[in-house]
Symmetry: C2
Subunit: 144 residues, 2 copies
C-alpha cells in the first residue's frame, strides 16, 4: 500500500492509499515519497537563502511554495516512473538483480527525455545516462 511520510523520531506523519494493484501502489508510493523529498529540498534551499540574505518577503514565500510544488511533482514523476518500470521488469523477467535497475533506468530516462521534447539523439543519450545512474545506485545498495 502506498505510504508516504517522514518520521524524524517519535511523531510520525504517515498516510496510505490502496489502489488495488501492486504496480500502481508502488508507482503512487514512489511518487508521494520522492515528491516530498523534492519539495523539502526546495524549502531547505530557499530557507538557506533567506537566512543568508536576512530577509523574508511574502513574495519570496509564494515563489518558494510554487517551486516546491513544481520540483516536487517533477521528482515524484521521475521516481514513480522508475519504480513502476522496475517493478514491471521484475515481474516480466521473474527475478531481481542489477539488470532490472539498468532496464528501469534506460526506459525511464528515454520516457522523461521524450516527454520534455528532446531530439532523438538526446533521448538515446538520456536513456544511457538513466541506465548508468540506476545501475550505479543499485551497486551502491549492495555495498552499504
Amino acid at each position: 500500500m502506498p505510504r508516504a511520510g517522514l518520521s524524524a523520531g517519535s511523531p510520525k506523519v504517515d498516510f496510505a492509499i490502496d489502489m488495488g494493484n501492486p504496480l500502481l501502489n508502488r508507482t503512487v508510493d514512489g511518487f508521494l515519497k520522492i515528491a516530498a523529498v523534492g519539495a523539502c529540498k526546495v524549502a531547505a534551499e530557499d530557507a538557506f537563502e533567506c537566512l543568508h540574505k536576512g530577509s523574508v518577503s511574502k513574495n519570496k514565500l509564494e515563489q518558494t511554495l510554487k517551486n516546491m510544488c513544481k520540483e516536487g511533482a517533477y521528482w515524484g514523476a521521475v521516481a514513480g516512473l522508475y519504480v513502476g518500470v522496475e517493478y514491471g521488469v521484475e515481474k516480466i523477467r521473474g527475478r531481481y538483480d542489477w539488470k532490472n535497475a539498468l532496464i528501469g533506468g534506460v526506459v525511464s530516462g528515454a520516457i522523461i527525455s521524450a516527454a520534455s521534447n528532446s531530439k532523438a539523439d538526446k533521448i538515446a543519450k538520456d536513456a544511457i545516462t538513466g541506465g548508468a545512474i540506476a545501475t550505479a545506485v543499485e551497486f551502491i545498495n549492495y555495498l552499504t
Copy 2:
C-alpha cells in the same frame, strides 16, 4: 573485501582487494564499481554516436578512452566518498536508517562542491541537493 566486476551471465570478471580496514574497503569498493559504471556509460554513449554517424576513427577511439577514464574516475570518486561517509555515519550513530543517507549526501555534496572550487553559496546548495538525492534514493530502496 572490495570486489569489482560485472557478471552478465556465466562468465564472471571479478577481482578483490583487501585494504585491511572496513571503511577503506567500502570506499575502494564503491570507487571501483561505480567507476566501471561511469566508464561503461561513456563507452555506450560513444558507441551510439559511432553507430549513428556510421564512422569510427582512431582519433575518436582515443577520445572515448580518455573520457572513459575521466568520467569513470569522477563517478568513482563521488560514489567512494558517499559510501565512506555513510559508513562512518553509521558507525558513529550506531544505527542504520534514512538519516544516514541524508547526512552522507549532504557531506559528500559539500565536499565535492568545495573540491570543484565553488563559492560558499553554491557549496551549501550542492550539499542540500546531495542530501535530497541520497534520501530519495534511500526511500526508493525501501519501495523495491
